[in-house]
């Protein structure tokens, strides 16, 4: 017997929760976390990205990712 639409919807939501949760955790690891080691040497040498100091640009990028995840969650999960 095919699962009911409710069960399919629940499974879809549960998968989305896991994906968005993992993506947010990844953003926290890459943004303020150990991902900073990828950019720190470049930042130390006074490097810039799009005219912004490297560390500040890195922070803005991961802020954008975090906000995007929150917006997707609000649109799809928060009902």
């Amino acid at each position: 017997m095919d699962p009911s639409p409710n069960v399919i919807e629940l499974k879809r939501k549960s998968r989305l929760v896991r994906i968005l949760g993992a993506a947010f955790l990844f953003a926290l690891i890459m943004g303020p976390g150990p991902g900073l080691y990828l950019i720190n040497e470049y930042a130390k040498s006074g490097g810039s990205i799009f005219g912004l100091p490297a560390l500040y640009a890195w922070c803005l990028f991961w802020f954008g990712i975090e906000v995007a995840i929150v917006l997707i969650a609000a649109k799809t999960l928060w009902k």
């Binding site: 900073l36 720190n40 810039s48 802020f63 917006l71």
Partner: protein, 564 residues
């Protein structure tokens, strides 16, 4: 640096700027507005406990979003955080990345708390958590304790900030004669902030706290953005601003920052745990109950997650970074000190926003408009202090009334009696905080205030110890009452090891190796995370060997929580 030379050339112009009576007029208007909100809130209220603590569970999106934001940000938003960025450089801007997570928590945690509050009439964190774990009195007291440990240092320190702000607003006034006696301007600031806050909380309860938070929230957010814009313009616009910033010394542009304090692990654990700890402290928890619906919480979460970090990243954080260009800190005898234009002591880095704006906004906008804008920003900083002090006073009153007085001392107290007891708590807490701050100011060796100031650094870490219980009750439902009690005791106990209390109680000698360990750990991670880790391990282990809440009770709880 060119800019610094330019600034030195205009020193005489800066010296000629007179703030006059403008700060007094704007402060007066602000105080009248707060008091009016208190009176209107009182006229719209009834004498029930639910109305006093939760504004009848009817707050809309604007009020909920702004009261949550205003409660979260104390004077730290305009003083402490920019101060750290001015001292250490860019690494601490990553602090802003905790805010989208906090925003998400407003809906993810808040919507479940709201549904249970609606169904079961909960008003405090302990109502919900202790009830889930079988109504244990000990657990209720422990949850109330973590709330009180968070709230009290915040009240005291915000009141103290009122004194410092008064000194900055009226630099030429040393004393004021009142009722035949001379009061220092610091004392006047402390008294005005604390008594005005106490009055409107007393009069209007949650409704008045939330309405004033709306006005204060607008002031804080616009103050943050105006301050950022002014600094960018002072350095010649965005392109020139970021060129100057890119030329800062490498220690200000990279980790671990100029003071060597910021490892990625520490920044990440702060973003994860300090944010969640702040969002489950009693003041915020009460705001989830007060919302009109889960839709209100959803919209508030989105506003919070987008607007607040933007105000930091494009506002007040730019002031601190710009200040590092204009007034670079100096090293004297191996100690980093702020530039002379900011302050002379190592604890005066947090004066950076006030000092920079007081000098440069009048230069940018002309003396007349500039002085008005500076006065509004100074009032915004005061608003940040008041909005945190009022929410914490109100939350302290709710916790002590519901979780202690009503539960243990007067279980049959009427609604009216409970709200009057709550008001008495607000009066006593305000007067006690006022007395502590006054004593501390007149006697620098006054120990209690110094200890409370120390607790302020770990307040969020105490609140974080509620997190494992909240997550278990709201999402996992595998823990037991004994596990929860042991976990919270272990977590709070661990956080206490990071305070000066063990050395004070047992002497320095017995704790030297422990002090070394806690100092190493706090250099690497957020303190709340250290307590959380111990808490969760103890909670899980004890839960494995003790009996869980009854299946029926858990099923009923789950059903109420998932009800539409």
């Amino acid at each position: 640096m060119e800019v610094v030379v330019e600034m030195l050339d205009i020193d005489s112009l800066i010296a000629s700027i007179d703030m006059g009576d403008t700060p007094l007029v704007i402060l007066g208007l602000y105080m009248v507005m707060l008091f009016s909100f208190g009176v209107i809130a009182y006229l719209r209220s009834n004498s029930s406990e639910e109305d006093f603590y939760l504004a009848g569970r009817s707050q809309g999106v604007l009020v909920t979003a702004l009261t949550i934001m205003a409660t979260m940000f104390s004077s730290a938003a305009m003083l402490g955080i920019p101060g750290l960025i001015y001292r250490d450089g860019l690494p601490f801007v990553f602090f802003a990345l905790n805010l989208p997570l906090s925003g998400a928590a407003i809906y993810v945690i808040g919507s479940r708390v709201w549904r249970l509050g609606q169904k079961r009439g909960y008003m405090t964190p302990a109502d919900l958590i202790a009830d889930y774990y079988g109504g244990s009195s000990l657990l209720r007291c422990l949850i109330a304790l973590t709330g009180v440990l968070y709230v009290i240092p915040y009240i005291v320190m915000q009141i103290k900030a009122g004194g410092y702000l008064a000194q900055r607003m009226f630099p030429d006034t040393e004393t004021i004669t009142l009722f035949g006696g001379n009061l220092a301007i610091f004392e006047v600031g402390v008294m005005v902030l604390s008594i005005m806050t106490m009055l409107y909380v007393l009069i209007g309860g949650m409704r008045s706290v939330a309405w004033t938070d709306v006005a204060q929230g607008f002031l804080i957010l616009s103050g943050m953005i105006i301050a950022g814009l002014a600094t960018v313009m002072a350095l010649g616009g965005p392109r020139s601003f970021f060129q100057e910033v890119s030329a800062l010394p490498s220690e200000a542009l990279s980790l671990p920052g100029a003071s060597g304090s910021w490892s990625p692990w520490k920044l990440m654990t702060i973003c994860m745990f300090a944010s969640l700890a702040t969002m489950i402290q009693p003041g915020q928890w009460i705001r989830y109950y007060s919302a009109r619906s889960t839709e209100t919480l959803k919209r508030s979460a989105l506003i919070f997650a987008i607007l607040l970090p933007s105000c930091f990243l494009f506002g007040v954080m730019l002031v601190a970074i710009g200040a590092r260009v204009i007034y670079p800190p100096v090293i004297e005898s191996g100690v980093m000190l702020p530039h002379l234009a900011i302050g002379t002591q190592s604890d005066e880095f947090d004066q950076v926003v006030i000092a920079l704006l007081q000098e440069h906004i009048p230069l940018l906008l002309g003396p007349a408009v500039g002085v008005v804008i500076v006065s509004i920003i100074l009032v915004a900083i005061m608003a940040a202090s008041m909005s945190t002090a009022d929410s914490n006073l109100h939350a302290l009153s709710a916790v002590l009334t519901r979780d202690i007085y009503n539960k243990f001392l007067r279980p049959k107290a009427s609604e009216r009696e409970k709200t009057w007891f709550g008001r008495a708590v607000i009066i006593v807490a305000t007067l006690l905080a006022l007395w502590l701050v006054m004593q501390g100011e007149s006697n620098p060796d006054f120990e209690p205030l110094a200890l409370i100031a120390q607790l302020m650094f770990v307040a969020m870490a105490f609140s974080c110890q509620l997190l494992p219980l909240a997550i278990d009750a709201l999402f996992i439902r595998k823990g037991t009452q004994t596990g929860a009690i042991c976990g919270i005791i272990a977590g709070v106990g661990t956080v206490f090891l990071f305070t000066p209390f063990p050395a004070l109680i047992f002497g320095d000698g017995s704790f030297s190796s422990l002090a070394q360990l806690t100092s190493t750990l706090s250099g690497l991670f957020d303190i709340g995370f250290c307590g959380f880790l111990v808490n969760i391990i103890v909670f899980a282990l004890v839960s494995l060997f003790t009996s869980a809440p009854s299946t029926d009770a858990v099923a009923a709880f789950e059903s109420d929580m998932n009800a539409p």
